[in-house]
Assembly symmetry: C2
Homo-oligomer: 542 residues x 2
């Protein structure tokens, strides 16, 4: 029996209409380096309409892809609104991709137009010749004349192109399951893989961001979106802000601790979102240059695990609670949020807050063990996390033959390994591909790394599994010694001896100058493994 | 271009699985008159599975309808979960319907089974013989033996039927657009009309209830659901509580001010929901029997307009803010919620809070004037409210020929008349059918009634339009004088003269013993108009 309820409605055009009308006076503030420029949501509505008209005038039609190569600013926000609302697909290009990845994703998505920030032109320009479908480049916040494009690509000034365009647009109806926006993941293996979010998934995800037990975004908020708009949709903040009327503060390219502190002082946001390295940098800056940041009701940290020491420092020294969250590009990205149960107090409350968080109703989770069997939620059983839900990817863009291993039985295999408590809190211990399978037990490379890095003489440490006849795999620790310090493998092994289980104690150690990194700054263990296979590491064995 | 996102997931079975696992320790507490009985969400999961198995054993299959004729209690909550999760459709029968309406809705929905609370058996039993599709009646919380059912209907004891049933159930996959639950509206014209909520609409509505700028329901809440589960799904609280892990307190049949005060003292809920008459009654009780109720972070009031004096009394005397909201059975029911913008303070804040509230992104609204043209949101233009959204009815159950006037161009005509501010706050002034159209202007019958009722000698006043040759319509005021008081039409007209615009001043007055009421206690203006047409009112004309 069919319901009698209305269908449709879940679309970026509805969101834009709502935000620009009901929350007309909410604002998007963009930092200029020395001050701000401000646009109301009513102006954003007109701005987005002008951009949509401009893109139509360049021939953008149907569900063609329009790329952005931009910082977080008002123009990027207009692109977030205009492109999906006109029925096209927003493709946020990650400015930190390696050149070959960048051309790959632009070609794979078949971008027709790219909007680029003036300051990012030098990063993009050298690769335009290899972007086979791009016909137009629009330079925002900078000088279009400075870009010499290859033949076949027209260059436009954003301001000139939009000037004179009508400030209304007849936004078409779209199917809620059609793609609204795309983002490619930059894994360490193979080509980047595209995730295409739907109008529906973005709508549901935005509601989640505004739920009290999630990020709690409200009309009363002024949200500083530090996490880039080219990185998992800035964790959903732009669309959620439009939904609820929260004002947005955009740092543009000023992501260093000093400018962030300046933005905090000038705009006094109530909420902010960024990866741990940003908060670590800000913490050091604040410790050296004290400043009241208690206007922040909460800041959300994800992307990688937030160190407990940092969580305590922000809360105890600055009165700002850190909300730990987990997600990935394939999960839109909101997967879990570490808001403790109401009855957890004191140390128990902190233990909940250190976790990657609790699963909301829209994200079903299960743990799969080595044998492929589902594991219990007992805070002990360790397996690979699989998730399911309306804002979780079912496949990668381009067909089900792209990395089919990531999806099975309707679940996304996250590649993350961890355990879940009986009340649905996730604790991650490793990436599935990095976990070390030793004698039927799993050793977390991340736990070992953190323990080694807790030694004051160690700057960085990366752990990989190496083949072992008896145990299948055993850990190899690659250590970067802190500048001016000295330490031996024996001393580190001794240091670890009372900190990890005896059977986890690594036998293989090497000292390197630097841990190889991926384009987004994560440890590149693939390269480390390659160096080992090529015999380029000088290893001490115990 | 299709997105790569997963589909499905939005279903009551997902909700039940989530709530009973992730929020296993949250509770449903049912008031027994002298104390409580408590069930955890984990127990609710098992309870619902037993009920689903029991219903299957009675032959309930596919999308058959199962009726409930129950108070708010743990058994009704199990029915809310089990019936939609097993793929059947929950039909909440309003115990306050007139007998002919009750048999009409049971027959129209083709209910196969009815679950009835023992104390409500006397209300249901006399009508069972006319309910043509009912095959089984299950008596909960009472003596099944006391019910003598007509031939063809089997009577079961709820407890005996569930005893021994398995406490797990293989919940089937359902299409999210299929019906999960039904509710009939009891209008004053024609037969009741059915609204069939979908799994999808309930899911989205539950998310809205948990949004910070909506009802703000959270895991930390203990919500007292006074609004009946047979009345617009108890405003979505049961499903939203399951989604977020909020504990529920159910008053069962104890809805009088004394017992409600007892429940508040015993359970100290943080949140509550009820119509204004309940709060008015509680207020009088509390004023006579003072009690600390500041454990309530907020209470939501809807169903009809909350008098400002009551809102002030609760906030200023008891420290409990009243959140005013508007909705109807056809809107699931959350339409708008009066949470003021963050920058509104003092008197301006109160002015926002008196309104029916602001439209969320999932509810689009427009005002249609007399000429059928859309009116601006300028806080002045008065028209009929039309709404659109994923939890708004597109038609009534039974086909598009049932009251087609209520729906046009994809919008629901609410039958409510009012104005909207530029920032999306709704102020209702009347029901469309009650508004008085005088010389091209609209006179609000509700405003006139409230003004007349502000006179201390007036107990009740109802205003209807009567035909007028010159002005089309003019108001007729029917007054019920307060016991022991005396007042004349001239005196009331004089009293009004400096309170309403001159052209609104009523010329026609009548005194009656009582305003006729509908089954849900609203003024029955249809009957008042009939009395007038039949010449049964003694009217003073000026």
């Amino acid at each position: 029996m069919l319901s009698t309820m209305q269908d449709g409605h879940l679309s970026i055009s509805t969101l834009l209409r709502h935000g620009s009308k009901v929350h007309a006076t909410s604002t998007i503030t963009t930092w200029t380096g020395s001050g701000t420029r401000r646009e109301t949501f009513a102006q954003l509505g007109a701005h987005a309409a002008k951009l949509a008209n401009a893109l139509r005038s360049l021939g953008v039609t149907g569900d063609q892809r329009v790329g952005t190569f931009m910082w977080n600013n008002a123009e990027h926000m207009a692109a977030y609104c205009a492109i999906p609302a006109m029925g096209a697909v927003l493709h946020t290009l990650n400015i930190r991709l390696f050149p070959e990845q960048l051309t790959f994703v632009a070609n794979h998505a078949e971008d027709q137009v790219i909007i680029v920030d003036g300051t990012l032109v030098p990063l993009l320009a050298p690769h335009l010749a290899e972007m086979k479908t791009v016909r137009h480049v629009i330079v925002a916040n900078g000088d279009a004349m400075a870009l010499e494009a290859p033949a076949g690509i027209e260059v436009h000034s954003y301001d000139e192109l939009l000037a004179g365009q009508p400030d209304t647009f007849d936004w078409p109806e779209v199917d809620e399951r059609s793609a609204a926006a795309m983002c490619y993941t930059s894994g360490t293996t193979g080509d980047p893989k595209g995730v295409a979010y739907s109008h529906r998934s973005i709508w549901l995800h935005s509601m989640q961001v505004c739920m009290t037990d999630s990020m709690r975004l409200a009309e009363s908020d002024k949200a500083l979106a530090i996490v880039p708009m080219f990185h998992a949709m800035s964790w959903g903040l732009p669309y959620a802000a439009l939904m609820i009327g929260a004002s947005l503060v955009m740092p543009d390219r000023f992501l260093q601790p000093g400018p962030i502190a300046e933005i905090l002082a000038a705009e006094k946001p109530t909420f902010a979102a960024a990866v741990p390295t940003i908060w670590q940098g800000l913490l050091q800056h604040l410790d050296a240059n004290p400043q009241d940041i208690s206007h922040l009701r909460e800041v959300v940290v994800g992307g990688s695990a937030a160190p407990p020491s940092m969580m305590h420092a922000f809360e105890e020294r600055y009165g700002v609670p850190i909300l730990h969250a987990w997600g990935m590009t394939e999960t839109s990205p909101l997967g879990s949020v570490a808001r403790p149960p109401a009855d957890a107090t004191g140390e128990r409350r902190w233990q909940y807050r250190y976790t990657q968080g609790r699963f909301p109703a829209s994200v079903s989770a299960r743990l799969i063990g080595d044998s492929g069997k589902e594991l219990p939620w007992d805070s002990e059983s360790v397996g690979e996390l699989e998730v399911q839900g309306p804002w979780i990817a079912a496949s990668y863009y381009g067909g089900s033959d792209i990395d089919p291993e990531k999806f099975h039985e309707g679940w996304l295999r996250t590649g993350d390994v961890g355990k879940i408590s009986s009340d649905g809190f996730l604790t991650l211990t490793d990436r599935a591909k990095d976990v070390i399978k030793s004698g039927g037990e799993w050793i977390s490379s991340v736990d070992l790394e953190n323990t080694v890095m807790s030694h004051p003489a160690v700057a960085e440490a990366a752990v990989i599994g190496v083949p072992d006849e008896k145990w299948d795999e055993r850990p190899l620790v690659a250590v970067v010694v802190r500048h001016g310090q000295q330490i031996t493998a024996s001393e580190l092994r001794e240091y670890l001896s009372d900190k990890v289980a005896k059977w986890q104690l690594p036998e293989h150690w090497t000292f390197i100058d630097e841990v190889p990194k991926t384009s987004v700054g994560k440890f590149d263990k693939k390269r480390l493994r390659a160096l080992n296979l090529e015999g380029k590491l000088d290893i001490t064995h115990f």
